[in-house]
Symmetry: C2
Subunit: 421 residues, 2 copies
Amino acid sequence: MADILIKDADALIDGKIGKHSIYIRDDKISGIDTEPKDFKPDTVIDGADRLVIPGLINAHTHSYMAPLRNIADDMPFMDWLLKGVNPVEDKMTPEDAYWGAMLAMVEMIMCGTTTFNDMQMHIHQTTRAAKESGMRAVISRGLVGSDYDKNDVRIREALEEMEDGKECDRLSFMLGPHAPYSCGPDYLRCVADIAKEKGLGLHIHLAESVTEVENLRKEHNCTAIEYAQKAGCFEVPCIAAHCVQVTDQDIEILKNRNVSVVTNPASNMKLGNGFAPVPKMIEAGINVALGTDGAASNNSLNMFHEMSLLALIHKGVGKTPVCIGAEETLRIATENGAKALGLEGVTGKIAKGYKADLAILRLDTPSMVPRNNVLSSLTYSANGSEVDTVIIDGDIVMEGREFKSLDVEKIYAEAEKIVKK
Amino acid sequence: MADILIKDADALIDGKIGKHSIYIRDDKISGIDTEPKDFKPDTVIDGADRLVIPGLINAHTHSYMAPLRNIADDMPFMDWLLKGVNPVEDKMTPEDAYWGAMLAMVEMIMCGTTTFNDMQMHIHQTTRAAKESGMRAVISRGLVGSDYDKNDVRIREALEEMEDGKECDRLSFMLGPHAPYSCGPDYLRCVADIAKEKGLGLHIHLAESVTEVENLRKEHNCTAIEYAQKAGCFEVPCIAAHCVQVTDQDIEILKNRNVSVVTNPASNMKLGNGFAPVPKMIEAGINVALGTDGAASNNSLNMFHEMSLLALIHKGVGKTPVCIGAEETLRIATENGAKALGLEGVTGKIAKGYKADLAILRLDTPSMVPRNNVLSSLTYSANGSEVDTVIIDGDIVMEGREFKSLDVEKIYAEAEKIVKK
């Protein structure tokens, strides 16, 4: 790796935008405005008309599903799942999952995302794709089952994938019990126990739909949050995706157990699940992060789109223009994501010692003109196409919207084949 | 003007996407798949990896406000208006309004919009900017007042601007009584009478906020829709922007009087006004079109963003994934807009004899891959940056995202100056 200087650019540091020079050595930010010793940049990026932000963190997605982008839209949920998504998913080979994940990573990088949290179904494939794309990723193999069985094949696969990813320090791993409706209480307890033994975090879908919580009430006389708590899921660091159907008491549990919630506005609307009580969860002090979910339920992996949704919908729901403002939205999409993923102090901020995970945007685009409040523009008017250059782990992976080492045409072509099967 | 051939492109025709060649002569589409007589194209656009759609129609905006893009965000409505928007607006000169409108048009064209419906405050300036940008526009000067006075200065200005725009056949005009809270019943009646005499349509804000309808109830014992009806607004073709706070009876009136409603999802959320009952209005048979509103309350003029909001939020509000699908969303943003603006049969469709108002998108972008349902991608995953080339009235105004005749850098620079005053 080489030294990089981003010279005299606008930069988003600690919630404020100002002119800065950023010095990158190897994989880290080694100085801001103060040149490190013996700094001889191999690359100097001119900061004129450019804005540097921390790379965005997509805290809940399923990258292999990118080719299922619009396999099933505008239909009832069960048709979406059984007639739309499942038949294609069932035919997907591990190779397909790899190309799907590659398509997702191209899309994410082009919209300024540098880190993502992935629940996947095909062992090794997200790991393989993330190694190639250069992205930072937290990976969990989706786990479904009913019995307490530490030798369950999926659990073994999950642990095997962790071995596979060991050598790449951009990758980390969690266990991914899928959801209360796909994991019986004993299985969930088993996964939680293994997580505790091995010092791993959990990544789970919780309280996504009315049906889910109604069924849990009938069958287990509890809420989704209580179900997960009883099984021990909150005894380790836990990421709960969705949390749309939560009670005030659920919110208290989530806060008290330090669970990070990932909200997925587009997915929750598109599948007719409604709006998560995000302002209430923030008010309670929960660490809320932001995710796109998979492409089949969004249908994009564009965190700028997701940020604008987050900032807008709760103003509509609460009938107040003062709710989840621009600065908070950006923090949710960066710092809070890092905290959820166990990457606090590693990524999600532009600060000395942090990984050099950065998106550089063009300011000479209509969405960013005038520049009187660029922070607001990032949330309300940017659409992601302003992203010009992306640096991850000190590597320039995209520059002038061209990828340094990915064969984008090949990735598009392979993704087309998957849905044509 | 010259003949243009778009050869073997995917094209959205009658709600379906298929391969077509489109022949353009002068300002019109003169053939689809069938070459017109003596057709000698000066320009041939290769349709490989390209999708042609009807240019989008932004059915309610205030173009001069583009430089106020983020002058006032995340604050209560009265602060937004009185401390944020008004002070800058008050300082704007006609020249500023011109540059503001130019910025808006650059943004709209770059996101595939070819026609817009503008309510403006500075006589001649939208007209001047639309003439230069090449866009198709329906223009109304915002009118506020209390008395029945046919010689009111604003009304005279509105009629004067119509004279100014006469020679440009891309422009048409309406009268723009601002809103019930800014137009007394006598003034509104006066404007409606003039519209009737002169055969003009009306463009008005109606039922935008709870405060508006509560005050009307107190002061006039009626709803906003009833207020406008009593004043005679619906005796001429009428465009009602917003219609968030409408009763079932209001919806019946709007339908029976053939009023076109323009919904503005981002603006209604951002200002805390909530969600318009769009599915109900569609169900009732009202012609619903789509608009971005002005940049101060959105903050972008990107119709792709607005389409995705329209298609997503009502699924969230109604807790159903089957509501305002992709095809309907696109029709709302094109054909319905044309109908609202009195441009039915003129623009909003790719059909022989229609004006050549077209946006050509790149399909080799992640948001459009795979291509199994491009219609859906347009609504759910495109962000507007896929737009490569825009043709309006048979003129190529943008190609490869470069403008043919606009000095974009100068426009950005002038827009910056306005907010720095």
